[in-house]
């Protein structure tokens, strides 16, 4: 029966088996020498495949066998590259390199926490369409007190509470003089935030320093309400402290706002149930606020029947303390790099 077999058919069947066998052997070869031996065996001049090719009689068998040869050549080439790469990698890995050692030391500095808070505040208000104002810190009594409607008996007017440079010159006690400067420079509507240093004649304690920062917001437009103040402050507090924060208002008194309130933000340490940070109230004081007092409007020539506005002031240091868990004021005035590099 073997005599009757068609050579072409026999070759095709052999070729498939042969290819299978050769591919498996190539995949199993683990050294270049092994691979060279296999190449001789499967693709060498005396190899079964080469012999079959020499005996090809018909075009179809020739194409089949040539395709097998090409695939085997490819497989040998790929396997050879793999083995070369493995050998190279083995050589490259021989030095016991430790990837966990520190990298090259690249200096990266950091912004002060007060600046970080300042930027959050600025960006938040820029997002709300406010402009940012930088104002002078040495002020006249007129701008620091008189035009802000401080009564003559207000304790802040005392040299015991405020730094005087002359009878009528003080270090500003709050950023509120910015309200006057801004309203004198602009016609309403105005939306602005002023940030900078302020000064109070407080004794130096772990929690107080006579120099600190404030950000002061002012919105004057038609139809501004206390509710708008509440919404705005909630937005800012959430930007500073997270989306789960709540805000409440307590009544208060400031000469330049009426009604006046103090905003509290819910305590982030206890979530509002009460802890040491919030003195067991669940709330943390963050500054002062209110509706712009008509007297202030009159002092800058704005009609309080047509325009209304809100103003608020908060302390970036206080915010930084809450954000970074700093219980004292001292670290915020520290120049010790061990402190600064934490932020």
């Amino acid at each position: 029966m073997s005599k009757n077999r068609e050579p072409a058919t026999v070759a095709a069947v052999d070729a498939a088996a042969l290819e299978q066998e050769a591919l498996a052997a190539v995949a199993a070869a683990s050294t270049p020498a092994e691979l060279t031996a296999l190449r001789t065996r499967y693709l060498g001049r005396k190899s079964e495949l080469k012999q079959a090719l020499r005996n090809v009689r018909d075009r179809e068998t020739g194409m089949t066998l040539n395709a097998v040869r090409e695939r085997l050549e490819d497989a040998f080439a790929r396997r050879e590259a793999d083995l070369d790469r493995s050998e190279l990698d083995r050589a490259l890995s021989s030095d016991g390199f430790d990837v966990t050692l520190p990298g090259e030391e690249l200096p990266v500095g950091q912004l002060h926490p007060t600046t970080q808070v300042r930027r959050i505040v600025e960006d938040t208000f820029l997002g709300l369409g406010y402009e940012i104002r930088d104002d002078r810190e040495v002020e006249t009594v007129e701008y620091n007190f008189d035009k802000l409607a401080f009564p003559p008996t207000h304790s802040s007017r005392s040299p015991r509470d405020t730094f005087f440079l002359a009878d009528d010159v003080v270090l500003r006690t709050e950023t509120s003089p910015s309200q006057i400067h801004h309203l004198e420079a602009r016609e309403p509507p105005v939306y602005m935030v002023s940030i900078g240093r302020v000064y109070r004649r407080d004794a130096i304690t772990p929690t107080r320093f006579p120099i600190f920062h404030q950000f002061e917001g002012l919105a004057v437009d038609r139809g501004i309400t206390l509710a708008d103040l509440k919404g705005t402050l909630l937005h800012v507090m959430r930007a500073l402290f997270g989306d789960d924060r709540r805000v409440r208002f307590r009544t208060h008194y400031f000469p330049f706002t009426e009604p006046s309130i103090e905003p509290d933000v819910s305590c982030g340490v206890c979530g509002g149930t009460g802890c040491r940070t919030c003195k067991f109230t669940g709330w943390i004081e963050l500054g002062g606020a209110g509706m712009v007092d008509p007297r202030v409007f009159e002092n800058v020539g704005v009609d309080p029947e047509e325009w209304s506005g809100f103003a608020f002031g908060c302390g970036p240091e206080r915010a930084a303390q809450l954000r970074f868990g700093i219980s004292e004021i001292r670290p915020l005035w520290s120049t010790d790099l061990r402190v600064l590099r934490q932020f």
């Binding site: 002078r136 040495v138 008996t153 015991r160 730094f163 437009d221 509710a227 009426e258 120049t335 790099l337």
Partner: protein, 762 residues
Amino acid sequence: MKVPVSWLREYVAVEMPLTELVERLSVASAEVEGIERRGVPDVDGNLGFFRVGRVLEAGKHPNADRLQLCQVDVGEGEPRQIVCGAWNFGPGATVAVALPGAVLANGVKLEAAELRGQLSNGMILAEDEVELGTDHTGIMVLPDEWEPGTPLTDALPLAEDILLVESTGNRPDLMAIYGIAREVAALYDLELSPPPGRDPGVAGDEPVDVRVEDFEGCPRYIGRLFRDVRVGPSPAWLRTRLSDAGMRPISNVVDVTNYVMLALGNPLHAFDLATLKEGRIVVRRAHKGEQLRTLDGELRELEPTDLMIADAARSVALAGIMGGEETEITESTTDVLLEAANFEPYTIFRTSERLRLRTEGSNRWEKGVDPHLAPQAAALATQLIVELAGARWTGKVDVHGDLPARPVVRFRPERADDLVGLETPAEEQHARLRRLGFEVDDGSVSVPTWRARDVTREVDVVEEVARFRLGDVPFTFPLRRAMFGRLTRDQRLRRRVEDILTGLGFSEVYTPSLVEEDPDPGALRLREPITVELAVLRTALLPSLVEAARRNLELGNERIELFEVARVYEPSGGPLPVERLHLAAIMEHGYARAKGVADALAGALKAELRFTAAPHPLLHPARAARTGAGIVGELHPTRLDGEWGVLELDLGLLFEGVREPVVYEDVIGYPVVRQELAFVVDVDVPAGELFAAALAAAAPELREVRFLSDYREPPIPAGKKSIAFSVAFQSPERTLTDEDAAALRVRVIEALERDFGAELRG
């Protein structure tokens, strides 16, 4: 102020939980900073262990000379044996007893115990054991009207909750227990008792000689005479009230004046009538050169602006602030002149400020006390002086000018809604106002006299309505028709500077703008600094940063690179300084690093910085440069160990030189021709000037000059140096030919030769 809750309860029924009351008061009226608890713990029936006792027998302890052995009836049928260390009582005394099981104020639990072989089955109490005082020299002896076995809480305030109320400057009415009670009543819609104090019958009509010469400073003066006054200690309840409210008990008459001030908010004063010349009171300004020794023993120099209480001959008290030593009530006082007056705030404020003397009285007057309150205060004081000091009230006078009427203010409930952003029905607004003592008419309200200074305009009435509904105010945003949301150029560039420096490895610091000393002798000084370290407004940041670096060096910190952006205050000759925003930085590695940082800043900002050598007291004499915006250099070696690079730039000036917007130049269209050049020049020719001159000579094709070397060894002759640099020629319009490049090169060579005598090296 401190508000004992039992006192508050005399005027309004406080039955709600205190924590809730505290929250509502804080939101709507005045901040309550906390609740202080005085006395024994009021938990787990502890108060039940305290009884009134009567001593049946008392004698020396058989085994201890200093102890008494007592049999005390505490209403149990059988007396208890108690060992006691005090001797200020004997058989028959009514005493306060704690039974075993009681927890005392200091937290100690009392147990029955043997003392020197004798059972002590309880304790006879001294003041300090229940925090009614600090006295421990003897036990408390109670009035005999108390029956043995009576719960001790009926006889003594064993425990007290005290609210710490911090009222605001516009609410002098809340510096009184009754005023707080009025708020509580309004908050909870409760009934408010009439104000305390009713005049007893006056026993005589003695004239009281009161002359007010200055109605502006003293709108009202009520004087009352008392005879046969027995000055002595106040009863326990009064002493407890005062000490719970934070005042020290002194004597019955003085305590009454303080009690009335705390209850109603009207400070009073009592004079020893016998010490007043001609028994007269004159209210006037001080004479020039006049002096007064005040109750605190200080001799005060008076000014004609000071309002004084005087007698026929001299000043006897600083009106509203402090009495005089010579006319104060003493144990031997028998006749009293009581002052229930009203003083104008600014007068009191000015004197209190000048003398640096703040008292409970001045603190109230300067906020503005209602002149209509004086008769009520006089009545309560009179009632108590008669009752507690056995006095006879024999004369009275009420001197006053025109007293202010209740202000009538326009009020539109809809205006309140508009400002608050919350609708409150008009009836509800009106009801709230009535509860606060306002009278409501059509379109207007009349303000109660105790709020007359604070509520004068419609918006003030709006606040009265709003403060009760703060929790209901919704969260909204303004409806906008105008937007301003962008940084100014300087603000944007400032951020860029901060970011570049932190990117270069610098840490930002904040240092105080007030310093001990400033390089500029004309720097502004505070009149009254709190410490010498914070006394002068600085004109430069660098000295502060040098200190910061020194501190880090001492701490052993490594890689010290610090910067600060802050204002400086330059004396201007006028009242206000010129304030400029500065950047200062300090870093290791000397001049080269500082110059590199300045170059990096200038490069990143696209600002031009031209450096010239310029000495500066802080800097190394040869490594000090000035630019249009400030100084760059190496710190003088005497300032700090090591080589420190420093810079201080005026950011305003730096930003003026920033080229904006950047205009693109084609750098990819045509090739660059690079060449290297070296010139021999005198050593004192600054390389920077050579580069600038080269750039100017071959503009615009000379795109870049890059420094290569500064060589001063042979064969370069002494006094000369060779400066080598590379140049890059490029045109945005065409490919530069060899001839073009050669021509440009010649322009550079000629310019340097002409301007600096520079000689091209082969």
